[in-house]
């Protein structure tokens, strides 16, 4: 912790970066901290409770400004950063990524290749909660699954917290705000909720890195993260993706490879 604070203070005072996005103690759990000077850096913490996905802030221009900034990132955040890079939302010159590795050492990344190599060492595993709910869902028939999600989604009141929490929901105009034509009815109702959630799922397929931020953010506890997570897991056998590792080119639904194993597509 000390090392992190010292390094952050150093980076800020030396003017290497103008902002460090990290975590500080919160009432129930760590919360985001935006430090712009070395005093602020004194409050930085980094431990296993720090899972709030800070990558959501790094695409916000009004927040990060024009200068170089740093962000502290646990492994799930690193995955989001890689996906954002693939989607042309980040540039190497502007970003310094800091993490603490398994041995407690501070590590800094200045290129996305370094991050990719680091992330590749970690396998994406289901946690207890994910395993419990997903195995239940996987045991259901199609009809039961539909019923399960209809019931879950009926609680949604369209606060869009899931969207706000997702680092990959960075569009300046989300499809829910498009009104010519109005693709998604704005009110919360069973059908209109499904419109939103099916759209959200389709927009995340091949992109979601399973950080879980959306599910974590939902005030009524809908496990929305599991839909996109499951889709991502399923891409591995079908499309040869490595779950949690960003696709280098495009997206499972858009890219096409010369050596595709499906003959019909050639």
């Amino acid at each position: 912790m000390k090392k992190l604070r010292d390094r952050a203070a150093e980076l800020l005072s030396q003017g290497v970066v103008s902002l460090v996005i990290g975590y500080e103690e919160g009432t129930k759990r760590p919360r985001p901290l935006f430090c712009r000077n070395s005093e602020g850096a004194e409050k930085l913490i980094f431990d296993s409770h720090c899972f709030h996905n800070l990558a959501v802030y790094i695409t916000k221009k009004e927040l990060v400004g024009k200068e170089r900034f740093a962000v502290t990132a646990p492994i799930s955040t690193l995955r989001s950063i890689m996906q954002l890079y693939v989607e042309n939302q980040l540039s190497e010159e502007k970003l310094l990524v800091i993490t603490v590795d398994l041995s407690g050492e501070l590590r800094e990344f200045t290129t996305f290749d370094e991050i990719a190599a680091y992330v590749a060492q970690f396998e994406l595993k289901r946690g207890e909660r994910e395993q419990e709910i997903l195995s239940k869902i996987e045991g259901m028939t199609r009809e039961e699954r539909w019923k399960f999600w209809m019931e879950e989604m009926s609680h949604c009141f369209k606060c869009y917290a899931c969207r706000s929490a997702c680092p990959l929901c960075y569009c300046s105009k989300c499809v829910v705000e498009v009104n010519r034509p109005q693709w998604i009815n704005p009110w919360p109702a069973p059908l209109a909720n499904m419109e939103w959630h099916i759209n959200r799922a389709m927009h995340m397929v091949g992109r979601c890195t399973a950080c879980g931020a959306c599910g974590d953010a939902c005030p009524v506890g809908i496990p929305v993260d599991l839909i996109t997570r499951k889709m991502m897991e399923d891409l591995a056998p079908e499309f040869g993706y490595v779950p949690g590792q960003p696709a280098k080119q495009g997206n499972a639904l858009s890219s096409w490879k010369l050596d595709d194993r499906e003959q019909f597509i050639r």
């Binding site: 569009c171 858009s254 050639r266």
Partner: protein
Amino acid sequence: MSKIGVFICHCGENISATVDVERVAREIGGMEGVAHAIDYKYMCSDPGQTFIKEAVKKYGLDGVVVGACSPRMHEPTFRRACAEAGLNPYLCEMANLREHCSWVHEKSEETTEKAIDLVKMMVEKVKKNKPLDSIKVPVTKRALVIGGGIAGIQASLDIANTGHKVILVERDPSIGGHMSQLSETFPTLDCSQCILTPRMVEVAQHPNIKLYTYAELESLEGFIGNFKAKIRLKAKSVNYSTCTGCGACIQKCPVKKIPSEFNAGLGTRTAIYVPFPQAVPNKPVIDRVNCNYYKRGACKICEKTCQVGSIEWDKEDEIITEEVGAVVLATGFDVKGTDFFPEYGYGQYKDVLTGLQFERLASASGPTFGEIRRPSDGAIPKKIVFIACAGSRDPAKGIPYCSKICCMYTAKHAMLYQHKVHDGESTVFYMDIRAGGKNYEEFVRRAIEEDTVNYVRGRVARVYEKNGKLIVKGVDTLLGGEQVEIEADMVVLATAGVANCGSEQLAQKLHVSYDPYHFFAEAHPKLKPVETNTAGIFLAGACQAPKDIPETVGMASGAAVKVAALFSNDELVREPVVAVVNRLAPPLYSTCVGCFMCETACPYNAIEHEEIKGRDGSLIRTIARVNQGLCQGCGTCVAFCRSKSIDIQGYTNEQVYAEVMSLLND
């Protein structure tokens, strides 16, 4: 409120026989925003069009819907009529009441109701239509021809003779293709080289043709009228501007045992070589795989013999870029080797040959100077068997199609054999004789009747070697499946014609479609035989399917005319049905967030990056932009854009949504 005019056509009785057209016009006339609705016997006729023009003026229409046949048929007609009346042509739409309704349903209430729905959808769409302008793109009046067989030669000459520049790219060291390997040609038995060589020379000397041999296409970017071709000039190791083509180096090269490609493996060549005496250009290249110097670092004998110092050891492949407006693909075909046939000995028997090898034996410039001799012992075969359809028309071998040329060249081969070996005996095993074509049937009959070739209808099950003879076991299906066994001295397989190697990769580089056998696909099997699905790229010759020389030449001239027609315009006019990325006022500029998912989805590489810069030149954002020349309006990007920032003009999300909702809101 909109003022839409609706015109329902009877199409004679094509529509009115099953659809109550008067009711359609009446009910649509009552729709909100419809100012005028009528029905008429032939809307496309002169009086029909006049109704439209007059209504546009009289009612001040701001949209027109014609309920008639397929827009493929008459959309241009009605749009032109609207334009003549002063209405933007893209404010006119058609509802297909014929193919989509009257022709596919019986006369009934429901058929009429469906027709009403179809028109209603279009009315709702037209309400959202915006005036559009057609797109104009300039044309670079130079053609790229890929492949220098007879197809490429003919296309190049024809285009060059219309006064336009041609760049001809040939993969091998010489142009000529398969035709240069042939002995004599059916159905007239004139010598192939004699009719081909003058054309090859003409290509080399034509002021409008730039020839690159030993070269291949690296990549093609751009769109009709505006392609950029990158061409790899493979290192020849010989400087062509100083080489005189004297051939001294070839005489002295110590590596002499390389199977000659030109002689289909029956003769040999050296490492520095000219493929055949009449080659164009008649200058050698060094085959670096087999050359002693490139293999082991020592030799350089050719360098010592060359009087003018033309050998360039360190020459590297060069990549050049050429700008062209059209491309003709003429990369030809290939034939299966004898090794493809386990039942005929997997290519182990020296005296089992392909038709192409037989051509070399029969050719005066071939390894035996035109005498038919066995590769194994040089003896003249007294009994010869020709097997037609070797591989072709055999789904089990993955080649269900007919190779088309084999029946004819097999008859030719048998005839040539009889002319050269007077006491010889020839047998042809065939499935059917396909001799469609001018003088073709007569040619085959001549082989059978005058040259006494023995034709046996049936398949050959097996060929094997025994005591220096080839035992051919087959059946004669005309004699009730009787077993036939022939002790032959030579067997010639008319092996299937297949797509040239590398054709799949080439098609992918050019974004042209190809069939399951990797032959390039024409845009329409009847009406667009030389066009591809990619505008500006045309096909000539056997790269589209196996075909003979007359057909190849005809097709090549056809492709050349298409190119010349394209080059007769200074600008191309295109329908504005292309994608556009929305633009908004600052500070938003666009709802596009520059994720470039659309770029990965676009099959035509039409998405570009546009940098939005501030007054001081600093980069504000990078967003997508559609290259209107490249975009084919397929809409893939639209489906992909999460923020709905991209739309197809004339088929916007809003328009299509309105169409769908008009059905659902009933």
